[in-house]
Structure formats: C-alpha cells, structure tokens
Amino acid sequence: MSMTESGPIKKHLVRSYDDDMEQITRLITEMGAIVEQQVAFATQALAEGDEHAARTVIDRDPQVDALEERLDQTAIRVLAIRQPMAIDLRIIAMALKISNDLERMGDYAVNIAKRVIRLQSQTRIRPIPTMVMMSEMCQEMVKDILDAYIARDPDKAMAVWKRDQEVDNAHNSVFRELLTYMLEDPRKITPCIDLIFIAKNLERIGDHATNIAEKIHYMIHGDEINRSRDDEK
C-alpha cells in the first residue's frame, strides 16, 4: 500500500471508484511501457544506425497518441462522476500531466528516429560514444521514472530527478564535440546538425522524465519538490 503524508492509500467504500483509479494508473503504465520501448528503439537506431528500428519507432507512435486520448477521456469521466478530493484528485490531475510528458517523450523518440534515417544517406562520421551513453542514460531514466510511478515512490522519483544533471552535462559535451567536427570539415555540417538535434531531443526526454518525477512527488506529498539540485552537487 502506498504512503502519503497523511498515511496509506486505502480502498474506497465504493469499489467501482477503485476500479476507475486503477484504470487511470494502468493507462499511464501502458503508455509509459510503450514510450520506454520507443526510446529504447531510438537508442538502438542511433547506436547501430539501425534503420529498421527507426521505422518501428515511427510506425508505433500512433499507439502512444491513442493511449493519451483514452487517458484524457477516462480522467474527465472520473472527475465528473466522482468529484475526487485530496490524494485521488492529485493522482488524476497528475495523470493528465504525466500523460502529456509521456506523449512528448514519444514524439522526441520519433524525431530521433527520423534523423537517424536521414543520417544513413549522408557523409559518415565516426560514432560519438558520449551520445550513445547519453541515449542510454535517458532510456534508463524513462524506465526508472515509470518504476517510481508504479511504486508511487517519491524517493525513487527524486533519484531520477537528480540524474538529469548528468544528461545535461553529456548534452553539453556532445555539443562541443560536434562543433569541433564541423570546424574540421564543412562536409560534416549537415550530419552534425542532425546529431545536434538528436542530442537536444535526448536532453528533452531527460527533462520530461524530471517533470514526471516532480509530478510523482506532488501526487504523493501534495507539495512542490525542493529545487536545489545544483546546490547538492
């Protein structure tokens, strides 16, 4: 049983209310699972220049959108018929926002996939290990944030939130590296620009994972996360 500031979340007197709440959590979980795979495929596409994986990402995107739509409808219906309060209200309101973050993450995975496909027909540049590492970091963050959501564990979410700094650092370093390649050889400008955009997309995926962390924190504690990440380092 999950704990909030005011104690564990028990069952409702009306059982169908619990079913409604479970359905919302399940839709987020389902959506999250697909987005996690999308990011994984995008990572694979990037790391191995795997065009097939890239196409898979693009083809599966409508599934994410459809789930988001279903979640919206379910949440609106539950709000209308239950008039939820306190923890229930926070769970539903945050589900609406989290689904939005997940949908954006899915879109970024698609953007990455599209750029990977384009890269295949351009001047080859040597693989950039930091970028692959960054991509794997993001994939891990997405996985862990979903685990934190399912476990309703704000501490786990907080751990993910703190890791975003590493992604930001990797992003800066990738950017600098690509800049030097472009200075060395103007023919590499086009592929490097694509890679810069990919890095940016990855960085944004990380940001959305931290957004979700903040929402998990609010969902359980009912207050804002203490944003002093930079000071703790």
Binding site: E5, S6, K10, H12, L13, R82, A86, N226, D230, D231
Partner: protein, 272 residues
C-alpha cells in the same frame, strides 16, 4: 538546464500571531456530555471575523453539537452539560451575566429544514426586530424587512406578496426567508446547520452564492454533509470524528492535501 530555485528561502508571508486579528469566536477545551455520554472532547477552534468555517465529519461526530454550543442551543436539551471556554469577541458566552436571548440575537441560526413561522413573509422577518425592540415605527420595520429580504436575495421574488404566508414559498425560498429572518436582528455570527440538505441544486446554488455575500457583513459557521459544498463556501474547514476535532485548516489545504489520515480517508470516501 533547470534553474536553481530555492523555494525554502522565499520570504514567508505568514502574518505573525501578534498582528493577526482576534477571532470573532473562539472555543477552548470544549467538552460536552449528553447525560453520561461524552459527545465532545477538548475541542479548540477559532472562527475569524467575516470568514466562513465549515464543520464536516460523519454522522454523530459532534459537528452539530459543537455548532449548537456557539449560541448555547444545547442549554435547551435535558441532561446536556458543557465545559470549556467559548468566547464571542473575547467575552465568555457561558458567563452567568450573559443574557441568552441577547446572545442568540448576536449568534443567529439557520436550520436544516426551512422552518418559517406560520405567519406572513413580512411578519417572519419583522418578528425578531420586534421582540428585540430594534425598530420604533412601521417605516423602520418596513426598512428592516426590505433590507433583510434583499440581503437574503429574496426581495425581488416576494416584494409584491409580503402578506402571504411564509410557508407558501418554495423550499429554497423558505430557506432564504429563514436567512432573512436571521439577519433581520443584525447578528454578528450566523450558524447554519446543513442549510441546503433539503434543497434542490439550483436553490442550493443560490444559498451558496448568498453565503459568500453574507460573509461581507457576518461571520458564518456552517455544518454540511456535502463536502464539495464545504470546499466551495468556506475559508477554513474543521473535520470532526467521534467528538474530537481531528484537523482544522485552510479549506484549500484540507481538500487537496489533508495532513491527517482520518481526514484523507473521510474526504476521499475511504471511511469505514
């Protein structure tokens, strides 16, 4: 990159205790017994001037009992014994020198079921001012009746039929007539015991709208079973359970982020 915002370092906007206005009514360590059975346990609660305090909790939790302590309505119940300190403008209302009739003029009450007197609309409103000698002549009575009915948002509906019986009105109108009757004697505080539970949604909305307007001039304490209503009309909410005040806080906080497990269980429908 995320900006480092230090939420904890933001200046606190809370007003220090010394600068806070004294509460209109305050209760300290209120205990109450019906015969042998204790119904309230050490209740501490402040009602700020021109605010609405909602009392919520399951049936039998003591919220109505507490409400009735505030104008000594429990005095009329045999075997009921009250202990503790309840003050109106810092004056002990249980003090021997207090005139209970006068107290109930200052602390008026509106009940669950509209209970107009079997008299005309006009007389329902004029009755209080008459027994308290608040008006000297017909013109003054007319003015009080009109102002009170306007204050209760009923004037436009009854202005042309003031001589008709009060109970010829609809339920919602009767309740607003009772509110007009309560405010006709210029009280400081109005107690409302589930004022909307016998009304339809439209009549309820009118009363809720009215409560918000009344707050400009009066201090209101309302018992309600409808939690959405408590959330809508009040600034502070008190949650009672088995005669104890479990949690008292800003209404926004109580309904979005209660601190006590029992409050959370109750307002989210997990009580049992």
């Amino acid at each position: 990159m995320a900006t480092a915002i230090k939420v904890n370092e933001l200046p606190k906007t809370e007003v220090p205790a010394a600068q806070r206005p004294a509460p209109k009514m305050s209760a300290r360590k209120v205990n109450l017994w019906y015969g042998q059975k204790q119904a309230l346990f050490d209740v501490d609660l402040d009602v700020a001037k021109n605010s609405v305090v909602a009392l919520i909790g399951p049936s039998g939790c003591g919220k109505s009992t507490f409400l009735r302590c505030l104008n000594r309505m429990n005095d009329t119940i045999d075997g009921c014994r009250t202990q503790g300190d309840i003050r109106l403008d810092d004056r002990d209302i249980y003090d021997r020198s207090v005139d209970v009739v006068q107290l109930r003029r200052q602390v008026g009450m509106v009940f669950q079921k509209p209970n107009p007197f079997p008299k005309s609309i006009y007389e329902n409103v004029a009755y209080g001012p008459r027994i308290h000698g608040l008006a000297a002549n017909k013109a003054e009575f007319d003015e009080i009746v009109e102002t009170s009915l306007k204050g209760a948002g009923l004037w436009n509906e009854v202005a042309d039929r003031l001589s008709q019986p009060g109970n010829s009105l609809s339920g919602g109108q009767q309740q607003r007539l009772c509110i007009a009757r309560a405010i006709a004697v210029a009280p400081d505080v109005i107690l409302m015991d589930e004022p909307c539970s016998a009304l339809d949604p439209i009549a309820t909305a009118k009363i809720e709208e009215l409560i918000d307007e009344l707050r400009q001039h009066f201090t209101i304490c309302i018992v309600t079973h409808n939690m959405q209503q408590a959330a809508r009309v009040s600034q502070k909410t008190a949650f009672f359970h088995l005669g104890k005040l479990i949690e008292f806080g800003d209404t926004d906080q109580i309904f979005t982020n209660p601190k006590q497990q029992m409050t959370q269980d109750y307002i989210t429908g997990r009580f049992g």
